[in-house]
Subunit: 179 residues, 4 copies
């Protein structure tokens, strides 16, 4: 089993170094260079979340900073950008997937749960991400989402998740990927 | 064969009434109520393009105006919204597809050529649109796009288009649609 | 007395030509070239309102279109742009005043009533506009704004207006303007 | 003489506590709660800069966090927000001044140098800020701005600054303030 968690402050670094296999850098810290510099010294994969007001170029410059500081195991996470649309929490920028993959060699994962904030929008956006070439997904799942202590509104139930994985497998095959 | 063209001014109406089967309303005219009122009197399907600064609610209110004025054959076209991202011409809002389909009974089509403005981004965005439940696509194709008189940079060649339709057929099957 | 009114459709042109001294072009028509072309043929001053999603460059290009079509009496009106701020209706872009005046020879007026939508914000924004070099203001005034049939929430009472004009006179003197 | 400097990282806190009289919190740290919590323990005035993608409400919530953590000496600094306008670095939101002053009891200062990034735009925006009720200004001045090591393009020369202070004194009197 892999442990995966989001670091939000430099003071958490020793704990993360000891216990977390895959460290996620939150949107707000995408340009916290003091934190990036220390994280880059660890021999662990880092998930860099694109800030909601950041361009693709901003995001790649932060990834570049991490790489120049010594860590080459960078994964970019697209999780939605700020727009004038109000029905969704943020607007998931699906076009960022092929763009980042063309502009860099970095893998791109997508977080449709956090981006949309709404359970029924997670499956279509997860399928769209796979169809556009995403290398991975962060999907929140719960055995009883309506009674989850936190983030239930954006979590899938097990049946929904099973149906979705079946669909994603078919879509992945259409773009010559395995899932 | 169907004729399809975009109306930009009220003075063009008699000509469009005579020769065009499927009339598209440009983004700039989405809230041109004088034009909408006259178009709604025609017994023809209308494609309403979402403005690049319009929310989904704005778009549905314009569709509602057309329907209250008497035309029920409305198709919504998502073609990208204005964001701070600069690598693409506009940001195609894939999440608008499931949202509009839930909030209304209207079919939703997507224009990845115009939204991205870049040929190599058309296939991933077209696939993403199908995966998210789009009812149709507007894709620009040219037998020799590098020498097209206009919009060549966003047009697919025939081989690319053939490959894409094959992929879309597989993706459509995953979401229980035919293509 | 001068008559001043906003044209919203080409069909209104004969009426406006006959009765209106100063014709205002609404934000939505800033890029309605069919309308601009006809308006440019009139020998009347035109107030071009900057669209809420338009850049200064967009606005100057529309002004340029009017001038190339034959009308040199163009006045630009800044009336607020779309931003993520929600307390005000739009964000009045005060910096557009010195910018447009540097980039062109055109007079710039400001509409703080429409931009803010709130009576108590009209005086500070009107004063700021004068301080930044505006050539004029559109301010809605009503003898009993709380009972106005329309736009009362953004209209000043007569006492407020008198106080404001006194303040603006002092500010105008500081920037070597008369008021 | 007062020392004034911007803190960007928690590790700088002991040094700032010792040597800085007035501590500025940079835009990127407006929601860095770990840093805010520690800063709030100091018995020093804090200048909270509004983030370029933050609403007025976001900014007041950060100010509220500082106050609930024990520091009541909070000054808000408006320094421009992200918009689609490209002629200026950011769009200085002059309407934020009367809004923040109405929604809270906090003093508001304005940074026209950083917001516009252009020397010739600093005087009109500084005058507008005073006319709208600002309590203070941050203006970069240099005896020889064209040869400044840093930020010369947005710095005023001494003559420009003298002329500006004269103008601001007149404007301040119009709004019953002293300067």
């Amino acid at each position: 089993m892999l442990t995966f968690s989001t670091i939000t402050d430099l003071a958490q670094l020793p704990l993360f170094d000891r216990y977390v296999d895959l460290i996620q850098i939150s949107e707000r810290n995408m340009q916290n260079y003091a934190l990036l510099k220390e994280l880059a010294k660890l021999d662990k994969p880092l998930v860099l979340r694109r800030g909601t007001s950041s361009t693709i170029e901003d995001t790649l410059l932060s990834a570049d900073y991490l790489m120049r500081c010594g860590n080459q195991q960078i994964i970019i996470c697209e999780r939605g950008i700020k727009t004038f649309e109000t029905y969704t929490r943020h607007t998931l920028d699906i076009s960022a997937i092929p763009l980042i993959k063309k502009l860099s060699h970095l893998p791109v994962i997508v977080d449709p749960s956090r981006a949309t904030g709404r359970r029924d929008k997670v499956p279509p956006m997860a399928r769209a991400a796979v169809a556009a070439g995403a290398d991975g997904l962060l999907i929140e799942v719960h055995h009883d989402p309506d009674h989850a202590l936190c983030d239930g509104a954006q979590s899938l139930g097990l049946d929904q998740f099973n149906k979705l994985t079946g669909q994603m497998r078919v879509i992945a095959s259409a773009v010559e990927r395995q899932f």
